[in-house]
């Protein structure tokens, strides 16, 4: 019998490609966000609003992750942003290799912001680095304020969380104070933006924050 010590990291292959992606974005001065949430929280609607608000000043492109369909990509295309669809064919998350492949289908020379919309899932996407600058989580008031405590990893790793469907707050049992307390226990530096993709409420602070990140990244090249 032989014993072989490996100490081989399971996500090493993904991390290597993620680093390659990160270097690529760095060289081009593109700020990249990895947008994560559970299904139906409003990632695509938020993205539509964000594109409308930012597209004049910030050239952006989108990579849409979806298990089978291209419905979300079609919505983004209608907003006039270049978009590539990744169908994961059953996989519950995007990985760095899928993103690397998708980059070949986008003209990124004039792009300053790339949004990668991950597959709707609060668990698995948190584990796979894509080479992004910031993870951004979306949580909607109709889902309940217990999500950070149930899925802490994604909130620990994110730089910002958008609390969507804030226009419905009065009709739910969602407790904003409890949410703020919980996310700040998990991640004291997490920025919280309260928005409604339906009414456009709260988009200004979010878009300003995003535009500032984009400017800082572009200035660092």
């Amino acid at each position: 019998m032989v014993k072989v010590r490996l100490a081989s990291r399971i996500l090493e292959a993904n991390e290597k490609i993620a680093e390659r992606n990160r270097k690529f974005f760095q060289d081009k001065g593109i700020f990249v966000i990895n947008l994560m949430s559970s299904p139906g929280s409003g990632k695509t609607s938020i993205l539509e609003r964000t594109i409308s608000r930012l597209s004049g000043e910030t050239p952006l492109a989108v990579i849409e992750g979806d298990i089978y369909t291209s419905q979300d990509a079609e919505r983004i295309e209608q907003k006039g942003a270049p978009v590539v669809q990744i169908n994961t064919s059953g996989a519950c998350h995007l990985d760095a290799h899928m993103v690397e492949e998708a980059l070949g289908d986008l003209d990124l020379d004039k792009i300053k912001l790339l949004v990668i919309e991950n597959v709707g899932n609060l668990v698995c996407p948190a584990e796979f680095d894509l080479g992004e600058d910031a993870k951004v989580a979306v949580l909607s008031t109709t889902e309940g304020n217990d999500k950070p405590m149930k899925y802490p990893l994604v909130f620990r790793q994110s730089q910002a969380v958008l609390v969507n469907k804030i226009d419905l707050l009065a009709h739910t049992d969602f407790d904003l104070d409890v949410l703020r307390r919980d996310v700040h226990l998990i991640n004291p530096e997490l920025k919280i933006f309260e928005v409604s993709a339906r009414t456009n409420e709260g988009f200004e602070p979010w878009c300003q924050w995003l535009a500032e990140q984009v400017r800082n990244k572009a200035a660092a090249v």
């Binding site: 100490a7 081989s8 990985d95």
Partner: protein
Amino acid sequence: MHELSLMDGVVKALLKSAGENDISKITKVKLVVGKMTAALPSALEFAFEVLSKGTLIEGAELEIEEQEIIGRCEACGKEFKTNLYAFVCPHCGHPKVDIVSGRDLYIDFYEGD
């Protein structure tokens, strides 16, 4: 559900190493899984069983060591065991804590002939 893709990486790494070391049958595999990863041991075990079928790993014993989350306070520098839900220093109450361990996910060793 991503345990399947994680385990796919494990099986590939094992088969590659077994080939390099002239091992024709793997009998035991030890994984270290940090509690701060989103990988569930029971799902990893299931994925291992499915993916090792028909390979030289089939039937091997899988041992999973769960690694505790250890934080280090940025203010007072003390280290402490914590859980995923409260990254606040229990000694001085400072809210900024670095994760020292608990994020690992790796193959420690395997045994074979």
